[in-house]
């Protein structure tokens, strides 16, 4: 058994036979040198730049990258819907592998191979170099894996059964375990410590080559991975307007109900919510505390009532500002709700192109004007938010349920989940926030994935570690509401699901520790910048 805690230090024989001396770019894993952040001088050429024709897996990767119709949120080729499948979604080569139509063998190359190497590294099958080439070292580690897990043929070729086992193992709990490799508090973000001062936090990261960066960006924003066909504009504008109006009406219904609760005093106290928030902080710190910790939540200062703070600001707006806010929320829906992505697909619409952009702008303008009041109310009653500049968390303290204790219990657990999400937002490094803002644009799926998808993924990682039977936790969350001992629903199934799934596929490319280093420490080059 050769599973070890060894880090990436060995020289790959494959590297010396794959012409890296042709290297001329920024890929940073030199033969014989660690592939970690801050590693050795670049010396490896992009495999697809080399003279040899691409392998089957490379071709498949290229096809994936070019296919605009592919929905990155859908697991490939009927892959299971488990977390591992999500991680490897949108990869034709791995889809074929999973279905048993191909194997990865010595000499195969491409980003799909890289994902497997990254996965083995995270599963602690080392030493392994992340070269995007299925080299002898990779064969050896796969053979180790097969022997230890009693799966596959034991010879190091990656087959369907071995792949499925790897998929299965890479779950939220494994990501949580990966986050906890250093003692809590080693990196204390509020004190402004730079990541270079805590090299232990970067020891599990791996450098991205150009292909991996391209793949990471394609995952973030699938349409940017290739060319969309001719725009079919017939009916597009009308369908867009109908869908947007229906979306707003559905959200407005909830918003009006929330406003009603607030106006009738059906609210939790902010002090009680601060206790829930600090329970959420405690659970987050257990998992991510070695990467970053955030502020204790204090009612009325860094934890405030979103409805009250937002309506106070709306009262200071001029009419053009109000319309601008309404447009913002309408565009937010269009950028984040899957119904609009589906509509784009059906019409071959690429929002970065002039004709589509003009239609979208017209629709948003019309709908925002027609539904301005509802859009503003939707924003004011939005469940929660975090101010990236001050760390202030805004949350609805509405009980939603008019004093029904059973319902209040559910609502408090829901707020607990929401406050985990918001607290995780507050841990994002300023450099991460700056980088993700660059992904905004006419088609801002990428920004949404980095903003909400990644944050929600981290939220799920925290939740995977929570012992909901812990009496102290239950007391903190439920407070004045009687505890009937029931299992809370922390699934958050309706919270940014599409973006979260994209974020997990993103992790499949860059690796979970790269995500942590980018998100918490601002090492955004490790996420594809």
């Amino acid at each position: 058994m050769t599973t070890t805690n060894a880090t990436l230090t060995s020289t790959s024989t494959a590297e010396s036979t794959h012409g890296q001396e042709q290297g001329h770019e920024e890929v940073a894993h030199a033969p014989g040198a660690p592939q970690r952040y801050g590693g050795a001088i670049p010396a490896v050429a992009p495999l697809r730049d080399q003279a040899a024709p691409p392998s089957a897996s490379e071709r498949a990767y290229d096809e994936v990258a070019r296919a605009p119709e592919d929905d990155v949120q859908t697991p490939t080729s009927g892959a299971s819907s488990g977390p591992g499948a999500t991680r490897f979604a949108h990869d034709a080569s791995l889809g074929e592998l999973e279905e048993g139509n191909r194997r990865f063998r010595l000499g195969d190359t491409g980003v799909s191979v890289r994902k497997i190497q990254q996965a083995l590294f995270e599963l602690n099958f080392r030493p392994i170099e992340i070269t995007s080439t299925y080299d002898q070292m990779t064969m050896d580690r796969v053979a180790d894996y097969q022997a230890q897990r009693k799966v596959g043929n034991g010879k190091g070729e990656l087959d369907s059964a071995t792949f499925k086992q790897i998929e299965h193992e890479l779950d939220m709990a494994s990501y949580a375990h990966a986050a906890q490799h250093a003692p809590p508090g080693i990196h204390d973000t509020p004190k402004g410590t730079d990541a270079k001062d805590v090299p232990v936090m970067l020891s599990e990261t791996t450098l991205l080559d150009n292909d991996a960066k391209a793949e990471a960006n394609a995952v973030l924003n699938p349409k940017h991975g290739g060319t969309v066909g001719a725009f079919d504009d017939k009916g597009y504008e009308k369908e867009l307007e109908t869908e947007l109006t229906e979306t707003i009406n559905a959200h407005a219904k909830t918003a009006h109900a929330r406003q009603h609760h607030h106006d009738h005093g059906e609210t939790f106290s902010m002090k009680d919510l601060a206790k829930v928030g600090n329970a959420a902080k405690g659970e987050c710190d257990k998992v991510f505390g070695s990467w970053a910790t955030g502020a204790k939540m204090v009612a009325g200062t860094n934890l405030v009532d979103r409805y009250e703070s937002d309506t106070a600001k709306q009262k200071k707006e001029s009419e053009p500002d109000r319309l601008s806010d309404a447009r913002y929320r309408a565009r937010y829906f269009m950028n984040t709700e899957s119904v609009f992505a589906n509509l784009d697909q059906a019409h071959n619409a690429d929002r970065t192109r002039g004709p589509e952009k003009a239609i979208i702008d017209r629709v948003i303008d019309r709908v925002a004007k027609a539904h301005e009041a509802d859009l503003l109310l939707i924003t004011a009653t939005w469940s929660a938010s975090t101010d990236a500049k001050t760390g202030q968390i805004h949350i609805q303290r509405l009980s939603d349920n008019g004093g029904d204790e059973n319902a209040d219990r559910d609502t408090l657990w829901e707020k607990f989940g929401t406050l985990i999400h918001e607290y995780v937002h507050s841990l994002a490094h300023p450099k991460w926030n700056t980088w993700k803002a660059t992904k905004k644009g006419p088609d801002s799926q990428g920004a949404h994935t980095l903003t909400e998808g990644v944050t929600e993924l981290l939220t799920h990682i925290v939740i995977s570690q929570i012992n909901t039977k812990d009496p102290n936790l239950r007391k903190q969350v439920l407070q004045g509401v009687s505890d009937d001992g029931s299992e809370p629903d922390l699934s958050r199934d309706d919270a940014y699901t599409d973006a979260r799934l994209r974020a997990e596929t993103f992790v499949g490319v860059i690796g979970i520790n790269n995500l942590y280093a980018a998100y918490f420490l601002g090492k955004t080059e490790l996420a594809g910048e």
Binding site: P190, K191, G300, N302, K315, K316, S324, Y328, A388, T451
Partner: protein
Amino acid sequence: MHTPTSDCSAAIAGFASGDPAQFRPLPATCTLAEVSATLKSLDTETRGVLGEGDHTMQLRWFSSAAIPQILVWLDATGHVVRLDADMPPIGSVDGYIKALGQPEQRLDYKWRSSTLANGELVWLGRGVSTVGAPNGQGLIRAGVFVPASLADYRAKLRFVDANVED
């Protein structure tokens, strides 16, 4: 040489009054201890981001009789570089101009989903900035900072509003 505590206290107390006529330039050497001696602590510490250069700061939360929340921005050396208030309950753009004269700069200010053209009034030499509410009713932000050049103010001391993350 350490600036006498009284200069810091006067600057801090001046801002806390909410009355621009009481504002004094914030010395570069003020510390948290001097703030704590003058204002009521809200026992809250967060990480803040200041300036167009996204400088990470330590942010402490205080209050005064006139302003319920005063944000105190401390740099890596522990010095106070800015005090400000979001949605201060008192003050007006006219009041600031009457007390301080015409501003040296008027900068576009991003707020929520809008850009307020020339919305931020800045007195660089006095170390004061404010943003009037777009509907003309009061202020949406007011602050004092260590007097600086325009470039330094923009890069390191300006509060840049961010659309909140949902």
